[in-house]
């Protein structure tokens, strides 16, 4: 198995009576609630957490894109990935991802991902989400009736831009470019591995299968609620004749780790409560614009009893209910290991995206959790699925060939501090 340390970067200071005052955490939450000076400290605290995960040997570190909200402060995940590309050296960088239909032209994504891949020495995993309705339709004004078509066209353009070695013209419905000729090109050939985050759309499953992409199921309802959906995914893969390789699937799970089971609730409940009852306070009028979900997917979701996934979020639940419902996996290292192994085997998932930071958790708690995971849980789970080859992993430059940020300054320091004329 492989382990991704995933950060949402929620804002930490949504007021106590937040749910009474505002109908949702997204789209039209007044930005007067955001304090940039606190935000400055928070970004650095969050990036520190991710860098620590790299130092402790997590396979990858993850960031994603959301707009106009107090739940995830990364309208541009590529900026975060760029900061991390210079400050980390080992972990792969999972940008999950860029909502490609939002970029005009979409070749911007091909360029920025190529830059990240080159800067990081080929460590990039490129995620292509459609994006949530809140982000793409309500914040970025994309038409829900056409966004999936626009997404597909953007995808085809980006892939071609990465593959072609000669300039080409693109006469699309949504993008028209006379000259497409991407500089720089990614280190990974033909391009970085592509992961597609999705919730329950059948079209997304088929799209992943057709292109051999990784399907990343990112819900906050936990592994128990995901079972039926992922059973549907694996059935669909079997129907389409794809091998049941667990690494073709990633799953996000929230994990609260403490030294012992007994301490967990006391340490984590305030932060879990903050996440489920403030960060996930979604306004139902903006979760399902007409056309965003296809009729086939609406019908399938009904059949699978998954209901309106976006609303099935675990608000107003007690700690006990969240733990029993699998929304969070909580406890000491042995409890967490057991449940994660159960998750991996029941969902048949080779890539685990771990939310080890939750809600308002401070760095002391988060880093302790990261440390326990890296030292006491990760090594024991590592062998799971070792019989399968991971085709969805970056082909990074060997570590010895990767540039070390700052090294060059060090090497020329003495010459730089002498007068210019002596330099030959």
């Amino acid at each position: 198995m492989k382990f991704n340390w995933f950060h949402l970067m929620p804002y930490r200071w949504l007021p106590d009576n937040f749910r009474e005052l505002y109908h949702g955490v997204w789209v039209d939450l007044p930005n007067s609630l955001y304090d940039p000076q606190r935000g400055h400290q928070l970004y650095h605290e969050y990036l520190d957490m991710i860098e620590y995960a790299d130092q402790l040997g997590f396979d990858s570190i993850g960031v994603n894109e959301h707009h106009q909200n107090g739940y995830g402060l990364m309208p541009s995940p590529n900026l975060m990935a760029a900061a991390l590309a210079r400050r980390t050296t080992k972990a792969m960088i999972l940008v999950l991802g860029n909502s490609i239909a939002l970029y005009n032209p979409p070749t911007r994504v091909a360029e920025e991902f190529a830059m990240l891949d080159v800067i990081s020495g080929g460590r990039l995993i490129a995620g292509f989400p459609v994006g949530t309705p809140m982000d793409v339709n309500y914040c970025y004004g994309q038409n829900p009736a056409t966004i999936r078509e626009k997404y597909r066209e953007a995808h085809d353009l980006i892939i071609k831009a990465w593959r072609e070695r000669e300039p080409f013209a693109w006469n699309g419905k949504y993008t028209k470019l006379r000259y497409v000729n991407i500089w720089p090109q990614p280190i990974q050939k033909p391009h970085p591995p592509i992961w597609i985050p999705g919730l329950s759309s059948i079209e997304t499953w088929d799209f992943c299968a057709a292109n051999s992409y990784n399907y990343s199921y990112l819900s906050f309802s936990g592994y128990k609620k995901a079972q039926k959906m992922l059973d549907g995914y694996w059935e669909r893969m079997a129907t389409l004749g794809k091998e049941p390789n667990p690494y073709s699937c990633a799953f996000a799970q929230q994990v609260c780790l403490s030294d012992t089971d007994a301490e967990c609730e006391e340490a984590w409940w305030p932060h879990v409560d903050y996440f489920f009852n403030r960060c996930l306070h979604l306004y139902p009028g903006m979760t399902a614009p007409p056309g965003y979900t296809s009729e086939a997917s609406i019908r399938a979701a009904t059949v699978a009893q998954a209901g309106n996934t976006s609303m099935n979020l675990g608000t107003n639940k007690s700690w006990k209910e969240l733990v029993e419902g699998g929304y969070i996996i909580a406890g000491g290292p042995e409890t967490v290991r057991q449940q994660l192994e159960e998750l991996a085997r029941s969902l048949r998932c080779g890539h685990l995206c771990l939310a080890l930071h939750i809600g308002s958790a401070p760095i002391e708690l988060t880093n302790r959790s990261t440390y326990i995971f890296a030292t006491e849980v990760m090594p024991l789970l590592r062998p799971v699925w070792s019989e399968w080859e991971d085709h969805w992993w970056p082909k990074a430059l060997p570590e010895t060939d990767r540039a070390v940020p700052g090294d060059r300054n060090q090497a020329v320091k003495t010459r730089a501090e002498r007068p210019l004329e002596v330099i030959k």
Binding site: N137, N143, G285, P290, G291
Partner: protein
């Protein structure tokens, strides 16, 4: 008078397929429905048949009509309106459009001014003023929309709409029939979104001067979805026009005050 005939209009190969509801005798009146489609032969529709042969096409996504993917942009939609007139074999109809349909009717009248004899726009969408933003019908729950659409929230149609909200539950306890109702609603709404998301303004104002048909503009005085102040803007920009405001009425005039509304529309048709 109370049960219209329904038929599917053949517009040719690879073209949308359009269901037409029709009733009444007299000169042709083309009725263009609002974002809610035609739930039943109710509101102003049966009243219009007093003087007119009423043709009420359902746009793709509504009723049995299909082919939204054949309409790439708004001009495809406006031209579809003329294709329907052509296929019905009628000439220079009186067009009555409500809300979304009012916008389409105004655009058609601006596009081919000589092919429309008279025009009535009931609370049409299509213009925008920052000081009176049109409410966002795509960013609200059905239940929250009710006060935007109705002044009298205990009228039958308002109550019916409130009933629909009960289909949106967090539990998975809907019957297949209820699921189909939700899907049908979402399908029609998708058509509206395709042309009017996220801001329902796409240049109509610069084309309004081209309208030659005598135009009646009807508005509910208590319309909270689209401010009645837009009536005056339409009236200023359309050469031959008149404004009628209906008291104690919200956005869906036909469902709330059908009689005074029909009276104004029928009078205008006589002119």
């Amino acid at each position: 008078m109370n049960s219209p005939r329904s038929r599917i209009l053949d517009l040719g190969k690879n073209r949308p397929s359009i269901e037409i509801l029709e009733a009444g005798e007299g000169p042709p009146l083309l009725f263009l429905h609002s974002a809610g489609g035609i739930y039943a032969w109710e509101g102003i529709l049966p009243l219009l048949t007093r003087n007119f042969h009423v043709y009420a096409p359902l746009l793709p996504g509504f009723g049995q009509s299909t082919g939204l993917d054949r309409l790439e942009d708004q001009f495809d939609l406006f031209l579809l309106g003329f294709d329907i007139i052509e296929a019905l074999g009628i000439e220079r109809p009186y067009i009555v459009g409500e809300s979304f349909g009012g916008w389409m009717a105004a655009e058609m009248a601006a596009l081919r001014p000589r092919e429309i004899s008279r025009l009535a726009l009931a609370a049409p969408v299509g213009l925008w003023r920052d000081e009176a933003p049109v409410a966002d019908i795509f960013g609200k729950t059905i239940g929250e929309l009710v006060p935007y659409l109705f002044y009298n929230q205990t009228c039958m149609a308002a109550m019916r709409m409130n009933m629909v909200t009960m289909l949106f539950s967090e539990e998975d306890d809907r019957s297949q029939e209820q699921v189909e109702i939700l899907i049908a609603m979402s399908r029609g709404f998708q058509t509206v979104a395709k042309f009017l998301f996220p801001i329902p303004e796409n240049g109509l104002e610069r084309r309004l001067w081209r309208i030659k048909a005598p135009t009646l503009i009807v508005w509910g005085e208590q319309d909270r979805l689209i401010s009645p102040t837009y009536a005056e803007i339409f009236s200023e920009k359309i050469a031959q026009s008149e404004v009628v405001k209906i008291p104690d009425t919200g956005h869906l005039i036909g469902l709330e005050s059908p009689e005074p509304y029909a009276e104004a529309i029928l009078r205008w048709g006589d002119g």
